[in-house]
């Protein structure tokens, strides 16, 4: 059985997995990091987005063995103690969520965008979130939240 070692939210972890074990299964089932959601399991919805070596990926479409040696950040890795990450705070402030199912993936995708583009236009945000589906909000407040969160991240630098 292959063994994978990775850094998850700054913590070194390792687990015995099968070749077919998905990264999201390790995160949720072995590490109990259930903030990363599985919406579709078919690479469409983006609820499972995490960062692998700083880049957003759909963790339902990455094998755990592919993340061996990598640094993984999940939604649980963003806040500093009780202090929300600026992108999380912006989603709260701008009502960027209703049921919250899509939110972890939305926030992780948004943080990746903000790291590349500190002042994204509405169009930039909508294009970037192409792979993140929300059933509740109608997206308008998500877009507002991402723009505000990106600005807050840039200001906090």
């Amino acid at each position: 059985m292959p063994k994978v070692s990775m850094t998850v939210n700054g913590r070194a972890v390792s687990a015995d997995v099968e070749g077919r074990t998905l990264l999201v299964q390790v995160l949720r089932d072995k590490l109990a990091l259930t903030g990363t959601h599985v919406g579709c399991d078919t690479s469409q919805c983006g609820a499972c987005v995490v960062h692998v070596d700083g880049k957003s990926v759909k963790s339902c479409t990455v094998l755990a063995v592919q993340a061996d040696g990598a640094s993984v950040t999940t939604i649980e890795g963003l806040a500093k103690g009780n202090e929300l990450h600026p992108m999380q705070a912006a989603f709260k402030e701008h009502h960027g969520l209703q049921c919250g199912f899509c939110t972890p993936g939305m926030v992780m995708s948004a943080v990746d965008l903000a790291q590349r583009n500190p002042d994204p236009s509405e169009h930039d945000v909508r294009e970037w979130l192409e792979g993140n589906i929300c059933r509740c909000t109608g997206y308008h407040n998500i877009v507002k939240a991402v723009q505000a969160g990106a600005k807050a991240m840039a200001a906090a630098k």
């Binding site: 070749g19 469409q44 063995v65 792979g131």
Partner: protein, 263 residues
């Protein structure tokens, strides 16, 4: 997913050996097509040979009128490459329009063209520019590479190493996205080269194809107006809930003109 053995070789030679030794083993690049296929149990490989540890398959080089992209280069890296943007902006833009950011961070050019999805974007650039596909065994011109729906000239176990694109005088790609998947409902790549115009169409047929009538018209006069009287035939084109064959044929003309204007 059925269980499989997992290998991560560090060289092309080792990867080729693993694939040659086991006919049921499958190469994996970004996994963005392969993992969903395995989940649906549409394939049952005995082993997966992960190419991500093979350094020789990476890298972008530009020079001498050519752009060469290693098979394992991710779509996001082609889209962001300053060298590609400068030498062949149509290719960088095409890569940046594939799927969504998470897919672009994993998916590779080698995986895309080996898969030859009838609606994939890269095959249109390969055929539209007259690229050369270098494998671990030989060099294959794009005109002989894309054989049919999900079918290529690759032999079992043969690995794509890199794709070389000749830099044209002008080129552009326009795609009419299927709005849910972002795959091309119809995508048209046009290129003005020293030896004439090339026009490649994806999404419309069972596999990418060249639109020869448009090439002839554009070789005479490179302008969108030159395509005014040229109609793509609907015979044999795809028809599904997203659009009829006639609609796709119409879109080919529209996208080709827009691409010429953009080039």
């Amino acid at each position: 997913m059925y269980e499989f053995a997992y290998h991560k070789p560090a060289s092309i030679a080792d990867a080729a050996k693993l694939l040659a030794a086991d006919g049921d083993a499958k190469a994996m690049a970004g996994g963005q097509t392969l993992i969903p296929t395995l989940k649906q149990r549409l394939a049952k490989p005995s082993a997966v040979v992960d190419l991500s540890g093979v350094k020789e398959l990476g890298g972008i080089s530009v020079g001498g009128g050519k752009v060469t992209i290693g098979a394992m280069t991710r779509h996001a890296d082609v889209a962001a490459s300053a060298d590609v943007k400068k030498a062949l902006p149509a290719l960088a833009a095409l890569a940046g329009g594939i799927g969504d950011p998470a897919v672009r961070n994993r998916g590779t050019i080698g995986g895309s063209i080996a898969n030859n999805d009838p609606a994939a974007d890269y095959p249109a650039a390969c055929l539209g520019l007259g690229a050369t596909i270098k494998t671990d065994k030989r060099e294959i011109p794009a005109d002989a590479f894309f054989k049919g729906m999900f079918e290529t000239a690759l032999e079992p176990g043969e690995l794509i190493v890199a794709v070389t694109f000749p830099v044209p005088e002008k080129a552009a790609y326009m795609k009419f996205d299927q709005p849910a998947s972002r795959y091309a409902l119809v995508g048209v790549f046009v290129a003005k080269t020293a030896t004439g115009a090339r026009v490649a169409v994806t999404g419309a047929g069972s596999s990418v194809f060249r639109w020869k009538d448009a090439e002839a018209a554009l070789s005479k006069t490179w302008s969108a107006a030159a395509l005014d009287g040229v109609k793509a035939s609907a015979a044999g084109l795809n028809a599904d809930i997203h659009g009829s064959a006639e609609y796709r044929a119409h879109l080919i003309g529209v996208m080709a003109k827009r691409a010429v204007e953009k080039a």
